[in-house]
């Protein structure tokens, strides 16, 4: 397969995944913003921080929902905005059209113009509907890929791109929010912050799954365990790493070569394995998150290098 094709498929999947992640974060931010009291006013700022979009607002200025719609929904220059992600996903897909099935292409092709000509205030008014629409489009695309795409190398590159982006989103969320998950005694201001904890789970659509695994009570140790090392929850870092390992192994078989990226993904896997049963929390959540972020960044570079992107 052409290296450029592999690269386009990898990035197409990353941008689609990112569009969906941004959509989930906006939902989380909205939920926090309507909570009573002023404690969560700054929630939008964390959302901007997770998506690396803080530079689009004045430091210290209050952030409105309209700002969010403008920056995270519509801004074509912000690589995290849903509009930018959809346009870029489509452009990547268009360059490798012959590697996509008709259904995948149609799903991608129908998505890209929804936000054109929409003003920030209009977008604000239909925000929930727009967010739902983004999630639906992503599901249609994934469904088309799941049932129709040949499992050749192209599928592996696409799957790896999606898993990498998803792992990084979870890691960035934990990176920005780690302070709310510090052991209770250390929480600034003291006391349990029920809302903050659940907000993290909401952002990853994991609240029900969490209850299935850990029962009714929330605890920072369980939440970090769930999001980092649980191998069954599809938005956990461990699950995404499993996926990447599996697809990278397929590529190694097909190409007959194990490269640096294979070693790195194994290292991340080991790191998470050692973090089971609360160990990651004991060792220091923030350090683990930072280390994982660094290693996944390195992994992305090594994949590009190994397959001549």
């Amino acid at each position: 397969m052409l290296s450029r094709t592999a690269e386009n498929l990898f990035w197409m999947a990353r941008y689609l995944e990112r569009a969906e992640s941004t959509a989930r974060l906006i939902t989380m931010g909205q939920r926090m913003a309507v909570l009573p009291g002023s404690a969560y006013r700054d929630e939008w700022r964390s959302v901007l921080r997770v998506t690396d979009s803080e530079s689009f607002v004045q430091p210290g200025a209050p952030i409105t929902e309209e700002d969010i719609a403008r920056i995270l929904l519509l801004d074509p220059e912000n690589p995290a905005s849903i509009q930018a992600c959809l346009v870029r996903a489509r452009a990547n897909g268009r360059s490798v059209r012959i590697r996509l099935t008709q259904e995948m292409w149609e799903a991608l092709n129908m998505s890209w113009r929804r936000f054109e000509g929409l003003s920030a205030s209009e977008a604000c008014q239909e925000l929930p509907a727009l967010i739902d629409w983004v999630k639906t489009r992503a599901s249609v695309f994934r469904g088309a890929a799941e049932t129709g795409m040949m499992r050749h190398a192209g599928h592996a590159f696409m799957s790896i791109g999606g898993a990498l982006e998803r792992a990084q989103m979870t890691l960035r969320l934990l990176d920005v929010k780690y302070f709310v998950l510090l052991p209770e005694t250390d929480v600034v201001g003291g006391g349990r912050d029920h809302y903050q904890w659940t907000s993290v789970l909401h952002a990853l659509s994991g609240i029900r799954a969490y209850h299935h695994v850990y029962g009714g009570a929330y605890s920072p140790a369980h939440i970090s365990d769930f999001l980092m090392v649980n191998r069954a929850f599809p938005r956990s870092v461990a699950y995404c790493v499993d996926q990447m390992r599996w697809h990278l192994e397929r590529l190694a078989e097909e190409h007959g070569v194990h490269a640096d990226c294979h070693e790195t993904v194994d290292e991340i896997f080991e790191l998470l394995l050692e973090g089971r049963d609360g160990a990651i929390f004991q060792r220091g959540l923030h350090e683990s998150v930072q280390q994982c972020l660094k290693m996944t960044n390195q992994l992305a570079l090594e994949i590009a290098e190994s397959y001549h992107f």
């Binding site: 452009a91 268009r94 001549h308």
Partner: protein, 469 residues
């Protein structure tokens, strides 16, 4: 009164249109309009679009599709088929000649300057023998009809003629939506075109190729107006669609960058102009292209289809001499006539054109896509005067032809079937042998009376049938 292809001179339905006529009556005009909307929705979803340079607006505009097929009888096609092959053969013979001894020039049949001073002539190609001595592997010949038995060639396209994807997609959509029309097996299929194209390309593999040739399609990229066609053809042939950045040259061979490392390429079906092929040879300022590609080509490491410099054969100034080429190289009389053409570069031509400009169609020799032309009978006196000044400033840059009474084909109008002017582009494949699928692209001017069929100027497309008998 133009010849309406659906009717004979007495106004009765011509037998080749009998099935189409019955289908129109059965479906009804309202029914056809409903089905047309369905067809357009399908085209849009699939993403068959055509971008037009320099027009702004929607970069991925849909080409209008007309539901009513254009029909050729078997006898009509047999004549077209022979005429097209004859022309494709003569054009390739001409290309070999002008890049070798130039016999036709020595014989005084074509002025030397017209060839050697032509920007489409590539001195770099002199003395080189491309595999199979083929220069133009896909010859698209634009044909118009002016009467029941009168077919004329409007122009030749020897470089990288586009539009074949519409021929295939138009048929595909018609078969999908109206299977009943094809059930009797009267319409000859065209869907083997990609297989024939691949066969043709493999036949011209370079000397360095051992084993099954690796063929790729080289596209300028997804922003190119014909990108859809590039990806469509690559897909149907099962070959890689590459961009210049995917290729590099080493040891006189061309390699594509793959996830498993470099892989040798034998034949490149390039959909990219000569100028942008190789910055070392053609345009040093070009950021596109594959450095060293031309050298690898001349060294026999790769085959370029079409060959650089093939454009000299489809130049509008050379067009006039194609009948001479057919007589000179093949010893035959042309089966398809040329349109009478005055060259402003000659003294008599210039005088005639300036005196008769209001009745003529004048074109730039190097223009394409229907731009920069003047349709005398439809132009205002001011436009004509301005155009005359342009001709006087550079006579060699212009030709003129009489305004033709083009035939019209049945087209779906608001209230019923109407006649609209159309042309026809078949695609002749030239490898070790010549191949021609029975059909081509019919472009239709959707505005009443309009003669401009270019898709960049509001023309549409329709399915073209060649009947078995």
């Amino acid at each position: 009164m133009s010849f309406f292809e659906m009717h004979d001179q007495e106004g009765a339905i011509r037998s080749c249109y009998a099935d189409v006529k019955r289908w129109i009556d059965e479906t009804g005009i309202a029914g056809l309009h409903r089905r047309l909307e369905e067809a357009e929705a399908i085209f849009r979803r699939i993403g068959i679009t055509f971008a037009v340079y320099g027009e702004g607006g929607d970069p991925e505009r849909l080409i209008p599709f007309d539901l009513l097929p254009r029909v050729f009888s078997r006898l009509e096609w047999e004549r077209l088929d022979r005429g097209i092959r004859q022309r494709a053969q003569a054009l390739n013979a001409f290309l070999f000649d002008v890049y070798h001894r130039g016999e036709i020039l020595r014989a005084g049949l074509i002025p030397q300057d017209l060839v050697y001073q032509n920007p489409a002539f590539r001195p770099e190609m002199i003395g080189f023998d491309p595999p199979g001595r083929v220069y133009s592997h896909i010859v698209g010949i634009d044909i118009v009809r002016t009467g029941p038995t009168a077919f004329e060639v409007l122009e030749d396209n020897c470089r990288t003629p586009s539009g074949v994807s519409y021929m295939l997609e138009n048929r595909e959509i018609m078969t999908r939506m109206f299977p009943g029309l094809f059930a009797k097996g009267m319409v000859t299929p065209v869907d083997n075109y990609p297989a024939l194209l691949l066969q043709t390309l493999k036949e011209v593999a370079p000397p360095a190729c051992k084993g099954d040739p690796v063929v790729v399609l080289l596209t300028p990229g997804s922003l190119n107006s014909a990108y859809y066609e590039h990806s469509f053809l690559a897909d149907l042939m099962g070959i890689e669609l590459v961009e210049p950045v995917d290729l590099f040259v080493e040891n006189d061979r061309v390699w594509m960058k793959t996830t498993a490392g470099p892989r040798a390429v034998d034949v490149i079906y390039r959909r990219i102009d000569d100028d942008y092929l190789d910055p070392l040879v053609f345009r040093p300022d070009s950021l596109l292209g594959v450095p060293g590609l031309f050298h690898a080509y001349r060294a026999g490491g790769v085959t370029l289809c079409s060959a650089p410099g093939a454009g000299i054969a489809d130049d509008k100034a050379i067009y006039v001499y194609v009948p001479e080429m057919i007589r000179f190289y093949l010893g035959e009389e042309p089966i398809l006539a040329n349109i009478p053409t005055w060259q402003c570069g000659t003294e008599t031509g210039l005088a005639h054109v300036l005196a008769h400009l209001p009745e003529l169609v004048a074109k730039e020799v190097h223009g394409s896509g229907g731009y920069g032309m003047l349709i005398g009978p439809k132009a205002s006196p001011e436009e004509i005067a301005a155009y005359a000044e342009r001709i006087k400033a550079n006579p060699g840059g212009f030709i003129a032809q009489p305004t033709l009474d083009l035939s019209t084909v049945p087209t779906l109008g608001e209230a019923g079937v109407v006649g609209r002017h159309a042309d026809f582009r078949p695609f002749c494949l030239v490898g070790k042998q010549m191949r021609l699928v029975p059909g081509g692209l019919t472009r239709v001017a959707l505005t009443e009376g309009s003669l401009v069929v270019n898709s960049s100027q509001g023309g549409g497309v329709k399915d073209t049938w060649v009947l078995r008998n």
